[in-house]
Symmetry: C2
Subunit: 107 residues, 2 copies
Amino acid sequence: MNKEEKAKYETRVKVLKALAHPARLKLIDVLAEEDEVCVCDLTDAIGTDMSTVSRHLTQLKNAGIVESEKHGQMVFYRLKVKCLTGLFGCIESVVEGHIKSQLKVLS
Amino acid sequence: MNKEEKAKYETRVKVLKALAHPARLKLIDVLAEEDEVCVCDLTDAIGTDMSTVSRHLTQLKNAGIVESEKHGQMVFYRLKVKCLTGLFGCIESVVEGHIKSQLKVLS
DNA sequence: CCTATATTTGGCTAAAGTTGCAAATAAGCA
DNA sequence: TGCTTATTTGCAACTTTAGCCAAATATAGG
């Protein structure tokens, strides 16, 4: 792998890593439904410390998946990417295909 | 998050984590082009120890992304999932959108 | 049977990621 | 100004992941 090729994969990895955590997937789901949500409400949805949720949101933001805006003392987060539904569709198909083939092995 | 919901995200995470590594993305690219490849040839493409490549392939297999078949002393790996092109298309759009908005901030 | 080759696994170390608590920062309100 | 609330950041402990080397396993071929 040359430098250019490596860089191509690194950028993809950055996004994939940002997605690869249950709490962050949940955050994305909530944001997909509710449009604009503050950190405190997202904290309720996730159920961990607010500082942890804040860090998760920072990761999603750094990856370009969400964006934020400050109104008063609150920070509102918004989903920036629209194609994630299709992406998760593909991932679900991976999961289902895998389960099926495991059943086949067992039978 | 209840148990069921958590499980849903965990299964997605399993696939995303399997994808979230430069070497494994490269492996997927090679397999997408070449159909059936042995570990030794994939090792050349990646440039790390064969044992490391083998572990990467195991991860992809456990996630349901590739499958393998043994012929003689060699093990051939094959891509199992067809929708990854669209998935990466989405990821590229995340990356591009993010770069654009960063340029906007700078200007 | 013995040897060479392909692949996987065990053991180890280094690096990266996760989380909670406490402290810092920022903004509204009395 | 002083107090309260929302959010982020520093720090430390812990878990996970990646990578190499060496050893184990499996198979082909003499």
